[in-house]
């Protein structure tokens, strides 16, 4: 598919997500993130690249004139096919992963290599948090298995929020901390992102 077709297909995809282009862009990013997670949760390596494969197929279908009513349902169906193909034969997608991506993946694996670096990055990122957020995430996780549920309920009561609201808030904070730590450990990835 040439660039013009691809561009037109992308525009059509955005139009399917929302009539407002800015909102459509945000929805596209959300959809992309969810598909990446779907691939990760299904145990696929190279989740980002498989998501690209998935969107390429969606663009192609759009370019071929396919009428799509529900883009989320359509994209997830294609993603499920891609998962099946990938799990059946992971090497099949090797050609879709370019050299740069392979290097990034190799760089990511450095994350596991050095505990010192990760700990220092983690501490640095935590220090960048707002104090109340830092206190919250530390308090939430600083418990043991036996008292965990009761401690978190008490914490939610103290903050006058439901336990689920607290869980979601902490999940977001952890995600932010994890990303910051990862970027700190692999600055090349962070600047490329």
């Amino acid at each position: 598919m040439n660039d013009t077709h691809s561009h037109n297909s992308f525009d059509t995809l955005l139009g399917l997500l929302d009539s407002d282009r800015e909102r459509a862009g945000a929805k596209y990013e959300e959809l992309r993130l969810r598909l990446i997670k779907l691939f990760e949760w299904r145990g696929c390596t190279y989740a980002d690249e498989l998501t690209d494969v998935c969107f390429d197929r969606v663009f192609k279908k759009i370019g071929d004139g396919e009428q799509i009513q529900n883009i989320h349902a359509y994209a997830v169906t294609i993603a499920q096919f891609v998962v099946k193909e990938h799990l059946r034969d992971p090497s099949r997608f090797a050609d879709d992963i370019d050299g740069a991506s392979a290097r990034e993946i190799a760089a990511e694996s450095n994350f596991n290599d050095d505990s010192d670096e990760r700990m220092s990055c983690l501490e640095r990122c935590l220090a960048e948090f707002r104090r109340d957020d830092r206190d919250l995430i530390v308090s939430y996780y600083d418990t043991d298995e036996k008292t965990m549920i009761a401690a978190r309920k008490r914490l939610a009561d103290k903050l006058a929020v439901s336990l689920n609201t607290l869980r979601i808030k902490v999940c977001r904070l952890k995600s932010k901390l994890e990303k910051c730590t990862k970027d700190c450990c692999s600055p090349a990835n962070a600047s490329a992102a």
Binding site: R34, L38, E40, W41, G43, C44, T45, A47, A73, V76, T77, A79, Q80, A107, E108, S109, N110, F111, N112, D113, D114, S115, E117, R118, M119, S120, L122, E123, R124, L126, A127, R131, D132, D135, L136, I137, V138, S139, Y141, D142, D144, E145, A151, R154, K158, L159, A160, V161, N164, I168, V170, C171, K174, E178, T181, K182, C185, P187, A188, S191
Partner: protein, 304 residues
């Protein structure tokens, strides 16, 4: 759309552990890709599964399924590694809110204290009132007698450093302590604020102009310091840093560092520093996977 959290939690757990049938999974995936709340709820469950795994809280079946289905991808293994590091780190830190959990707010504590000892305090209060009354009458008598012997003086209002809070202000203060946002003022001994982390630029060749060794002045409250190791060139793919003391003992090391231009930046936690002289030894990984010594950067640490 409002979601049933408990139901989603249970389904998400089964999904992530690979315990769903193919049909159920297909339907579940279609739902969470279309629904933001549901997607976020699964992310919460994912974090909790990882935490349970790290803490050893999964049943043997769940443990086996987690390793079989979740840990197959590199990125998921990284998430587990991160969670493990994070939990270890948090266990070392102070407990800002957890410690406060068991403390009642000030007003509630006072109320609870008095209600629990109502009879004893009632009697003590009555005696106190009686004693105070007698003292007041005696003092008043004395001041009237003294007043008769001295010249009248202009009255000067008492100077106080700060106005006493009104009862309303006191209640406001207690309310503020109970606000949902965790406040550092909850705990009586205020935890010290973190200082900004200092940055120390180091150059190969070691000594600065005038022959002075580079000095890192590290505030006690800083989380750590950033070292900027300047290079002649940034040719190596990755770098390794070791900070050693004069006896050659390694205090800190980090692998896989990357240069930004002609500089390698690294943050080192305060806990790794003590007062004294050190050498930051930088090596580079060659294309042949050989470590080559790049430069030594001596510096002195002064903890303040």
């Amino acid at each position: 759309m409002t979601i049933d959290e408990t139901k989603i939690d249970s389904m998400a757990r089964r999904f992530l552990l690979g315990e769903m049938s193919a049909n159920e999974r297909t339907s579940f995936e279609a739902k969470f890709v279309a629904n933001r709340e549901m997607f976020e709820q699964i992310a919460v469950v994912e974090d909790e599964l990882i935490e349970d795994y790290v803490r050893g809280g999964l049943s043997s079946d769940e443990h086996a399924n987690f390793e079989k289905h979740y840990l197959v991808s590199e990125r998921n293994r990284e998430r587990v590694a991160f969670a493990r590091a994070m939990l270890n780190k948090f266990a070392e830190l102070d407990k800002p809110l957890a410690a406060a959990d068991d403390r009642l707010p000030l007003f509630a504590s006072i109320t609870a204290f008095f209600s629990a000892n109502r009879l004893a305090f009632g009697s003590a209060f009555a005696v106190l009132l009686l004693v105070a009354g007698i003292l007041f009458v005696n003092l008043r008598k004395e001041s009237v007698e003294i007043g008769r012997d001295v010249e009248p003086q202009p009255t000067i209002p008492p100077q106080t450093s700060a106005p006493s809070p009104s009862p309303t202000q006191q209640i406001d203060k207690i309310d503020n302590n109970n606000k949902p946002t965790p406040s550092p003022s909850n705990s009586a001994p205020e935890k010290q604020q973190r200082s900004a982390s200092p940055v120390l630029a180091l150059f190969a060749g070691s000594l600065r102009d005038g022959g002075n060794m580079a000095e890192l002045r590290l505030p006690e409250t800083a989380a750590g310091a950033s070292l900027q190791l300047n290079l002649e060139n940034g040719d190596h793919k990755t770098y390794r840093l070791q900070i050693v003391d004069p006896d050659g003992r390694t205090l800190f090391s980090a692998n896989g560092l990357r240069a930004r231009g002609k500089r390698v930046d690294i943050f080192v936690p305060s806990s790794r520093f003590k007062n004294g002289e050190f050498i930051a030894k930088l090596s580079g990984l060659s294309d042949q996977k050989q470590l080559e010594s790049i430069a030594d950067y001596p510096f002195r640490v002064i903890k303040k």
